[in-house]
């Protein structure tokens, strides 16, 4: 069932997942091939390496209305670029500090390590993360956008 078909008032969050080309993206692919179910709230952006995900990426996602952001990379030992996953973890610390300072709940941002063989882990992480965000409700920033949209519509 697509989220839009759900007539109940359940909140359907928008989640952006940055997945690295060598591990997490194939894991998501594998989950699809194996017909593992995971929520459709996750929108995947494929990046060549988790280390490429700078604070700017994550913040931009929040600015444009994401309720949660997941950064998924290789495990440290099997990073395709040797140092990329470690870099992702380092950069993630900075991003965490920035989002916390902005007042975005820290649960809305998650870093995880999913190898290309761990399709079931991808499905599990996606499910758990979506559940967490659903409990948290819409992000403050998204709320504003929605309110603005409503206000604009009534104004028309």
């Amino acid at each position: 069932m697509r989220p839009s078909d759900n007539k109940t008032t359940q909140f359907e969050p928008k989640i952006v997942a940055f997945c690295c080309n060598w591990c997490s993206y194939p894991a998501a692919d594998g989950a699809g091939v194996a017909r593992l179910q995971y929520p459709t709230n996750i929108r995947i952006v494929r990046v060549m390496c988790g280390g490429r995900v700078t604070p700017a990426f994550v913040l931009k996602a929040f600015e444009l209305g994401a309720d949660g952001v997941l950064v998924a990379t290789c495990h440290f030992e099997d990073c395709h670029y040797m140092f990329g996953a470690r870099k992702a973890a380092d950069v993630h610390k900075i991003t965490e500090k920035l989002t916390e300072m902005l007042g975005i709940e820290k649960e809305r941002l998650k870093l995880d390590w999913i190898s290309s063989a761990e399709a079931s882990k991808f499905a599990r992480v996606a499910q758990e993360f979506t559940d967490t965000i659903r409990k948290l409700g819409p992000s403050q920033i998204r709320k504003k956008t929605l309110d603005n949209l409503k206000a604009e519509k009534t104004h028309d």
Binding site: T54, P55, A56, F57, L59, K60, F62, E63, I94, K97, L98, E100, M101, L102, G103, Q140, I141, K143, K144
Partner: protein, 384 residues
């Protein structure tokens, strides 16, 4: 012709351009980026089709440091024309190349959300006295964000904020610090995004009016300029503002501050916003001169001739910016100074970043310090 551009041409007197090229000759960007010329842009604005001007990538390369305005024999206000051009260009979807993946701009745009509950006060420790209400407000600006975002170049711009509060405390003032203040919007304005600048400004003005303060003190020259010039211009803001160097200078002449001696050579960088934009040249020099035993050497290009730190509003940082910064650092080093005194957090970030560049040799490595931090560390505590 777009009416805003023609109005800006009139207001900035760009039509008086006699094509002497002094602007391009003195522009710190043109010195290294030979494709950029203020003169060409002024001519484009006057003579050619608007789209030709608005789509020109060079309109974003200007540092708005005002050096050309200072030199222009016709008295053209080039940066005002640049601002008007950028505001129009943004409307047709043109934008600058934002440095750091646009992280700084994104932070500011996120801050336009009214519901945001920021947690930005963690840096205020027990030694600093702040109040929840009072007459004097200290406006921190984006410093907590900068320190985190640029933790890889190990800058500590918050030291200046701590020092400012320490000095104010020393003078018997317990400043108010607003937990929900937003970015002043300076960088969005100069990047042409008026809509979000307005949202930030309205939020700040509202917060300030609610707090009931009568005076606002800044340590960041950009925030100071925005509150002193732009907020009154666009939103009729009318609360008294002051820069911390002015407060220090006054306190020194009133003998409220006594300083310890400092036996080294220093030099000072005039930030463009504080210097050419607002004409504050003597106050920081008074503060430095008041330190016993100090030797102060001016750089060759100082006061209204000072060269900017190479990037403005987090746009178009490039090898040209690095060249400007390294040349300026070299100039500072040539004064034989041990310490390079700055008074803008962005100068601190940009110069420290340039020193980490692989092109930076020994001739352009010098220790930097913010003027407020420098003075706050030299205050004799026993004297009250």
């Amino acid at each position: 012709m777009i009416s805003n551009i023609s109005a800006a041409i009139k207001a900035s007197r760009a039509y008086l351009c006699m094509e002497c090229g002094k602007c391009t000759g003195s522009c710190p960007v043109s010195r290294f980026n030979h494709g950029y010329s203020p003169r060409v842009l002024v001519n484009k604005a006057i003579r050619s089709d608007d789209l030709d001007l608005l789509k020109d990538k060079n309109i974003w390369a200007c540092l708005t440091c005002k050096l050309c305005d200072e030199r222009c024999p016709a008295g053209i206000e080039y940066i005002d024309l640049t601002l008007a051009t950028r505001l129009e260009a943004q409307k047709i979807g043109e934008e600058a190349m934002c440095s750091h993946g646009g992280a700084a701009q994104t932070l500011m745009r996120i801050m336009t959300s009214p519901d945001l509950e920021q947690k930005r006060m963690a840096w205020i420790d027990d030694e600093l006295k702040t109040a929840e209400s009072g007459d004097v407000l200290y406006f921190v600006g984006c410093l907590p964000y900068f320190d985190t975002l640029f933790s890889d170049i190990e800058v500590n711009t918050l030291k200046a904020a701590k020092a400012s509060i320490k000095i104010l405390n020393h003078l018997g003032i317990t400043p108010v610090v607003l937990p929900q203040e937003r970015c002043c919007g300076h960088d969005l304005l100069w990047g042409g995004d008026f809509e979000n600048f307005k949202k930030l400004a309205e939020h700040n003005i509202n917060e300030i009016k609610q707090s009931g303060v009568k005076k606002i003190i800044f340590s960041c020259p950009e925030g100071y300029r925005t509150f002193k010039v732009d907020y009154p211009k666009y939103f009729g803001f009318n609360i008294e503002v002051a820069h911390i160097t002015e407060i220090i200078s006054d306190a020194i002449s009133n003998e409220q501050i006594r300083l310890k001696n400092f036996n080294k050579v220093v030099t000072f960088q005039d930030p463009c916003r504080l210097g050419r934009h607002l004409g504050i040249y003597d106050e920081p020099r008074n503060a430095i001169a008041a330190v016993p035993d100090i030797k102060f050497n001016e750089m060759t290009r100082n006061k209204n001739r000072a060269i900017c730190c190479g990037v403005s509003a987090w746009m178009n940082c490039s090898t040209y910016s690095k060249s400007i910064q390294l040349a300026r650092l070299k100039e500072a080093k040539e004064t034989e100074a041990d310490l390079f005194v700055l008074s803008c957090p962005k100068c601190e970030i940009h110069f420290n970043c340039a020193m980490k560049d692989e092109r930076a040799g020994k001739e352009s490595k010098i220790e930097t310090v913010q003027l407020v931090t420098f003075i706050a560390d030299l205050i004799e505590e026993t004297d009250k």
